[in-house]
Symmetry: C2
Subunit: 407 residues, 2 copies
Amino acid sequence: MVIVQKYGGTSVANIERIKAVAERVVRTAREGHRVAVVVSAMAGETDKLIGLAHQISSHPNDREMDILLSSGERVTTALTAMAIEELGYKAIALTGWQAGIVTDAVHTKAKIERITGDRMGKALDDGYVVVIAGFQGITEEGGDITTLGRGGSDLSAVAVAQALKADLCEIYTDVDGVYTTDPNIVPEARKLAKISYEEMLEMASLGAKVLQTRSVEYAMKYEVPVVVRSSFNDNQGTLVTKEDADMENVVVSGIAYDKNQCKVTVLGVPDKPGIAARLFKSVADAAIVVDMIVQNVSGDGKSTDISFTVPKTDSKKTLSLTESLTKEFGARGVSLREDVAKISVVGVGMRTHSGVAAQMFGCLADHGINIMTISTSEIKVSCLIEAKYTELAVRALHQAFGLAEAA
Amino acid sequence: MVIVQKYGGTSVANIERIKAVAERVVRTAREGHRVAVVVSAMAGETDKLIGLAHQISSHPNDREMDILLSSGERVTTALTAMAIEELGYKAIALTGWQAGIVTDAVHTKAKIERITGDRMGKALDDGYVVVIAGFQGITEEGGDITTLGRGGSDLSAVAVAQALKADLCEIYTDVDGVYTTDPNIVPEARKLAKISYEEMLEMASLGAKVLQTRSVEYAMKYEVPVVVRSSFNDNQGTLVTKEDADMENVVVSGIAYDKNQCKVTVLGVPDKPGIAARLFKSVADAAIVVDMIVQNVSGDGKSTDISFTVPKTDSKKTLSLTESLTKEFGARGVSLREDVAKISVVGVGMRTHSGVAAQMFGCLADHGINIMTISTSEIKVSCLIEAKYTELAVRALHQAFGLAEAA
């Protein structure tokens, strides 16, 4: 089989961990598989580099940021290849562009456009373990280095798996798999044996940190079988795969929460057509991902408040964008609220079962938790609440939907 | 003017220093010059990375080593470009390959083959300060990342200066310029206003750490005017330039020492033709630079001892190479001596003045210092002595040749 193994930051946090990774890789290779390894930067490195940049500038140039950030994965790539060679197996380290990962030019959040797996494929044919720097690529035109955004190494791994037509893409991390909710908050949280791409997508986009959203979308699109498991033990992980009949019988699969969103409100926007479109177009043009959107017409009926959530990392950018538009629109002002959390209930079974939203709102109300904003999809219901209630809400919902018991 | 400024590791050791570099760069640009900046890794970073590799393997693969080591300069490049932009000037960071630095494939010690200055030139024309990662390049064929060896950023700077047809190549470091000898050993050491390429070459190859040897060779070949000066003050530096009449009147310009060599002796080599050639060919093939060579026929007239010096960093490699050859030759064995230092007296004036060697040997003898090996060139005399006498020898020679007094 062709197997892609991706090791996250905690799995390669130090030399001992890198040696352990090399042992697992070589074990897999000796079982007769062809192995491509995708690695993240050593835990803490990316934050350290971001910290350095912010000591210089509050808005560092994105293109330069990418050159800076891409260096972390290169270090791990080289060290991991060395560790594999030290065990007597042939290995070759490839940077993102050497692996043929071509992206668009949206620096710090680039999208993979294509992968030319030629060099990787040839190295595998020649008996090498290929070690690829995750999180990075290169633009076709300018030959500029790009990065794929937080957690982008997951995406690199899935894309490499697709390019190599791999039989399996294993994502190694510091947790055993995907749980019904965060076990740090709910000790009774249960590990799922499998989960559909769509549920995983909701869980990921809702803040469950085991897999990055875009990597799940990519896996779903190309039906890449993904397993999430721990690099610290040999436990079975969670298989992320196509939806099947079993899954539909489970109404709710998990509870997710996200503390990384903030709420921006544009106050007193004149109630005229086209203003919301202008607002969200300029936010989208800045490559900022808007999640929930709510609009409330105020008492006088002439103006309205528009609220939306964006990642906290984009709060400054969003504020400055929105403030300049506010003047243009004749709106009253902009407010930012950072002490919010989004709590979500997820399950493909919701499609065929009703009443989940009502049960969720009731449970939150029973615990005196006020709901600021609601958003729903076919397979999830999300509520924005005050951040201080996060743990309470997650525990209450986990209990209310009976998630501790095996399905 | 087109000016290339190179900043070494101590000049970019932390964020404050990087900001100071940015200020100097912007000041130069505002004076109307077009500025290309070459940066090293932050002080200590390269050693840290080497340390990580050696925790994994005692002989890490050179190709992977280069991916590892090249990451340090990229970090500085990005941070420096950000700091320049923060001062309101346009800047663009370029990695070695983006700057078009093409090298041969001798990993960790690559030679620059050519530079295509297109992208750099275009960016300068567009009003950018160009910030280039020193110490690294890329192979033409494989697209593999290479590094140029210790101090390789000096070479990058001189090569960039030549490619851009720069009017001046300023090498910023933590010393004010080139001194008659190491001021840490001899407080009366005097800064030279100018020095010839050839003298600088001898000083550099003899361990004066202000400029890397190959960068001086490159500058000499293409007559690139180089100034060595400090990034910590605005003092005039030392101009490295073509020899002129003034220089010839100075018999001795400086005293250099080098503690980074070790002495390898092959004992009891049969006195047959071709053996020395075989020995030094295989050492050269391993890209190890041999410095001094001595051969002494032993008492019996049938066998001989061959001694030579190599950089201490290559001692293990040299030993294992030499030991395998020893068996083949039927030699008696190999010995390694690391407690040695090379002391040299340098000056273009020696060409026309005799007696320098005799004066040097006499001075060392007067201080009871035994000479192990002697090597000479047109403009220098070097002696290998016991390392513990280094400081004594340097002080004594500086005094004997009257270097504290202005020429």
